[in-house]
């Protein structure tokens, strides 16, 4: 059986659900952030495979932009986490409840 679009999309979907599971299950802010990266990467994989199987390069250009934006996002997010850690001495979501009603 030949590997086609559906195979790649299945891998991408599995990666996305693993990332979602990590965001829901894990309690460490940094690991949650890594799971977010996993979800972004799964979107990249889906875009590249669509671009390959539809013979259009625009998907790859979009992935290029996503990678750039993700790098900027990681820098800002990690700076926020470090600033938060300085104030609270903790990077666990259970200790960050000051916005709870």
């Amino acid at each position: 059986m030949n590997v086609g679009l559906h195979h790649y999309l299945f891998v991408s979907f599995m990666l996305f659900s693993l990332g979602l599971l990590g965001v829901i299950l894990r309690r460490n802010l940094l690991v949650i952030y890594m799971s977010l990266e996993l979800m972004l990467n799964s979107a990249n994989l889906a875009l590249v495979s669509f671009s390959r199987f539809n013979n259009k390069l625009d998907g790859q250009v979009l992935v290029f932009f996503i990678i750039t934006v993700a790098a900027a996002e990681v820098a800002v997010g990690l700076a926020l986490i470090v600033a938060l850690y300085r104030k609270r001495q903790s990077a666990h979501v259970e200790d960050l409840t000051s916005m709870k009603l």
Binding site: V11, L15, S17, N41, V48, I67, V82
Partner: protein
Amino acid sequence: MEQINNLVSGGAAEDVLFYVFAALTLLCAILVVANPFSRSPVTSAMFLVLTIISMSGLFLLLQAFFLAAVQILVYAGAVMVLFLFVIMLLDLKEEQRRKIKLFGLIAGLVSVGIVVSIFVKSLASIKPAAAGPTLEGETYALGKLLYTQYTLPFEIVSVLLLVAMVGVILLSKKKLE
């Protein structure tokens, strides 16, 4: 003869490589999220590096050579080094296991179920182009597209990187005035 040609120039070998890289990607992703042996964020980060590298193998199989290189350079290089720096800086303790609350469990299952149903629905309706893939790793064409049709987004992204840099410097200053 044709079969041998097919075997050498892709075909079956490519399929095998797809399964190898896909299994590696998913296995490492599982170990990022739920590692049964260690809850330390450093282990998660190292397995995320492995996930990204095997995913760039998938990009190679999809003939996206430029993106495979960028994936390794930017993600496995820059982003993960940043992650490891922050982990070392914060000196995090191991995350302790905890009981899962019933409400959290229900919310998680419902959200995953919604995503699964969306995926199954969309996968059933997808049809790839009839011609099949003909694109052959066109880094030249990609660059041309990037600097002609997508020049404006390209410039905007560079401004975004500048803004992110300024924001990070401001955020990590000792005192915000």
